[in-house]
Symmetry: C2
Subunit: 149 residues, 2 copies
DNA sequence: CTTCATGTAACTTAATTAGTTACGATATGC
DNA sequence: GCATATCGTAACTAATTAAGTTACATGAAG
């Protein structure tokens, strides 16, 4: 799992889970999908459990399940549950007292807040069900879902 | 200069330059504004020179000047010249051949492209002049522009 | 009571970026 | 022409962050 691919890796995992409703998948199985190891998976999606997007159970036959229907899980929630910042730039002061910096930060912060709201709004309109539907289209066309390599 | 603060640090520098039109500032002077060293400044704003946002000259009395009026320099150009990605998440394939991943990346990429366009459009409406105006408002109110600490 | 699974802490490794040193190229002023 | 000031850039070092790994405790199922 590369850097900065937590969102797409998590979506990858969730679509696989959505494709096997009712069947718990283990961290180990999920890890193979995104070519990493079970602990990284657990750590990555721990926040999704807290948000009710997935549930986990221990012991024999345990593993991970979607917490609700794919139609009711938006990318905005997923992204938020991962604790990802949509915008990468910092607006932390580094020169307290400098009015130039204060002006820069004020403008940049306004932009950041508006942009984040905008992006979250766009992401809230895309659901896991949209992803599975897109997957199904590809699957019906090509007929393979191999995990070669 | 902290991580992820290249945009705000660069804006900080540019506003200082805008506040002294016609007077070249050295990398060393610019570096003190953002608490770093001259080489980091040169490296950071090298792209702005290529984009015509600033000009640099060597030798005695040399340094950095704005390449055009603050009204004609938008944050979109600055951000682009810094080579920053507005959105931090990756959409690079990691499991070639997996249709689930392909579906995820397709949807995410559509979103990314639309979002980037949207953000760039918003940033293109904010100019350096807006920042200097904001600074002047603060300055007129408080009357200090010290760089204490 | 053994096995399988998650939860999590602690550590190691890898990647990225800022910071630093060094020096060549170039422009100015004496 | 020579001393000085400045950028341009390569090469290295240090700091930070995130992924990967190991280890083990906890809990559920048969």
């Amino acid at each position: 799992m590369k850097r900065n691919s937590r969102l797409s890796s998590t979506l990858h995992i969730l679509v696989h889970m959505a494709e096997e409703p009712g069947h718990a998948l283990t961290s180990e199985q999920l890890a193979t999908f995104i070519h990493t190891n079970p602990v990284v998976v657990r750590r990555t999606i721990a926040g999704l459990r807290d948000a009710g997007i997935v549930t986990s159970s221990r012991g024999h036959g345990g593993g991970w399940l979607l917490g609700r229907a794919p139609e009711a899980i938006s990318l905005a929630e997923i992204s938020a549950a991962l604790g990802e910042t949509l915008l990468p730039f910092s607006t932390e002061p580094e020169s307290p007292g400098c009015l130039v910096e204060q002006a820069v930060i004020a403008v940049l912060d306004d932009f950041r807040i508006a942009a984040e709201r905008l992006l979250a709004e766009k992401l809230s309109r895309i659901t896991l069900a949209d992803l599975t539907a897109d997957f199904r289209r590809r699957y019906d066309l090509i007929g393979v879902s191999s995990h070669a390599i």
